[in-house]
Assembly symmetry: C2
Homo-oligomer: 326 residues x 2
């Protein structure tokens, strides 16, 4: 069977990424167990003996999709690993072993590949990751790869676990990643590990698709996420991008992807000031409370993001989604 | 930096796969530990608590490289998993968890993807594999993916471990995989697990690049692999292909890739007839002794394959290697 079609209605491009993932999961049936063992969190949480659980995650890096000619190949190599490190960070885990599958056209520059590999190596050395498996595959034109990262955690912090009243906090600053942060970001591993030691941290995710798309994953049934838009830690890059884009800096902070910051919920009983003070003794990374989990005020607000000042749902126009639909 | 070049001397296509892998390993430095923990065997053997060791492997499947329009998408999906299952089989292990990274153009037929996924699912169900992680990535034109498979083994049978005098045995039949076996093959998981329980099995590999390319991996220092070419279990497909190709069936049995059979060495002290008899009580899969590990008769025969009848090195013309060079 020829895999491709000219008829848009028959193609995966017509479905939208979220729906496509849902379909694939449906087709896989019981072979795809629910999270936390299976798909649906930042990592799979696998049973392991000896108290700690094992974490596993896979991420891709593709030319013209995740990097372009403006990126130094070292930065591209580092990014492939860092995307996965961010997933381990979002569970509060430590990375250990990586397996790398590369797809390379035969016209790839050898010195490009060398620099890419060195970028990957430097990042791996920084975090003590051993590259234990690999596969090289020749393609006609596509350049990219997948990296699978294994790690472990004493306690894996899941996306589920948030409770009504929880504070919502975010590390770092948001928006404008396109201007450089999507390559230069630091995975929040030490931050995630520290957060996992605090039982008042109820749930966590790393922000990769944009705050507005990722926050709903932390919202438990019967709740909505309320935010104070004026508290958002808007990055300088978001402000800079806004000058050109015609959108507001807040729009970029809410909607832009690839922030790779940690978003988590914190028990309502926590003394916020004290918690942020403790954080400040450990990390220079900013930490900001941007809202809280509230009881949904009506059915159609379930799982939505609400502006706590106006009570309205926060929505952006023109969001981007892979595979066509928004 | 633009990744591609028109100058052949600067491109990865000029290097040849084996040398390219060697270079990448060199660039990775200490980040890439030696086998069995790192690359160089069929799977990485990771430390695990509780007596068993953990196995990890990654393999690719790419359109026009590992399958084409003549393949049913179900068979393609199954093949991606089976390639990895064969690696686990070659260590004597049991598969457990898989992570799937797919690269899809938006013009991919939805029903193609459904059938592909179902093929993967059926194979996963057969072997009790849970798909616990995934990533979807949009590409311009390339269709393919990587699957990482985790498993475990009581005793992992390595490529290293063969001793001078060991018998060399192979499961199944060899050659002509192109006519169908590359899609329909059965990973020799149960066979590998049974072999791992026999301490007289010293070393093992699965034959994916062709017997002649894969056998040297089992040859210890100071030895060569001696074979009796007339004992080779030549498949009917190899004979059929020979009618068209102008090569001998033995050429196909020695050189064709994608047999996915288990090649292993067995202690010289083993009663071969008894061993093969015990095998026959368990499996219908043929098992053939094709030679033995011998002391190399001269320096330039180290690691080579020798025809035990003539004493000459067995060599084929026109072997195929990815990334250009042979």
């Amino acid at each position: 069977m020829h895999p491709f079609t000219n008829i848009p209605a028959d193609a995966v491009g017509n479905v939208g990424e979220k729906k496509l993932l849902h379909k694939i999961n449906e087709w896989l049936g019981p072979t795809s167990p629910p999270a936390p063992l299976g798909m649906g969190d930042d990592c799979a949480v696998l049973p392991a003996s000896g108290g700690r659980c094992q974490l596993a995650t896979v991420d891709a890096l593709v030319y013209k999709q995740h990097f372009d000619d403006s990126a130094h190949p070292k930065a591209a190599g580092a990014k492939l690993l860092k995307r996965n490190l961010s997933d381990i960070a979002a569970m509060g885990g430590s990375p250990q072993f990586a397996l790398l599958g590369l797809m390379l056209p035969s016209t790839l520059r050898l010195d490009w590949l060398k620099a890419f590999t060195c970028g990957l190596r430097e990042e791996a050395e920084k975090w003590g990751v051993a590259l234990v498996g690999g596969d090289l595959c020749e393609t006609k034109t596509s350049l990219g790869g997948h990296l699978t990262l294994l790690g472990s955690a004493e306690r894996a912090v899941l996306r589920q676990g948030g409770q009504k009243g929880d504070h919502i906090l975010i590390t770092g600053e948001l928006g404008g990643s396109l201007l450089g942060n999507h390559l230069t970001f630091q995975p929040r591993l030490r931050e995630g590990q520290w957060l996992a030691t605090r039982t008042e941290v109820h749930s966590m995710i790393d922000v990769t698709d944009g705050l507005l798309k990722d926050l709903p994953a932390l919202v438990p049934p019967g709740c909505a996420a309320g935010i104070f838009p004026e508290t958002l830690p808007v990055s300088a890059a978001a402000r800079q991008l806004a000058l050109k884009s015609g959108k507001t800096p807040e729009h970029h902070a809410l909607g832009d992807g690839e922030d790779y910051e940690l978003l988590f919920t914190l028990s309502i009983e926590t003394d916020l000031e004290y918690f942020i003070g403790q954080w400040g003794k450990q990390f220079k990374t900013p930490l900001t409370c941007i809202g809280k989990l509230v009881a949904k005020s009506s059915e159609n607000l379930e799982g939505k993001i609400i502006d706590l000042k106006t009570g309205n749902a926060v929505e952006l126009e023109g969001g981007y989604e892979h595979f066509g639909k928004t």
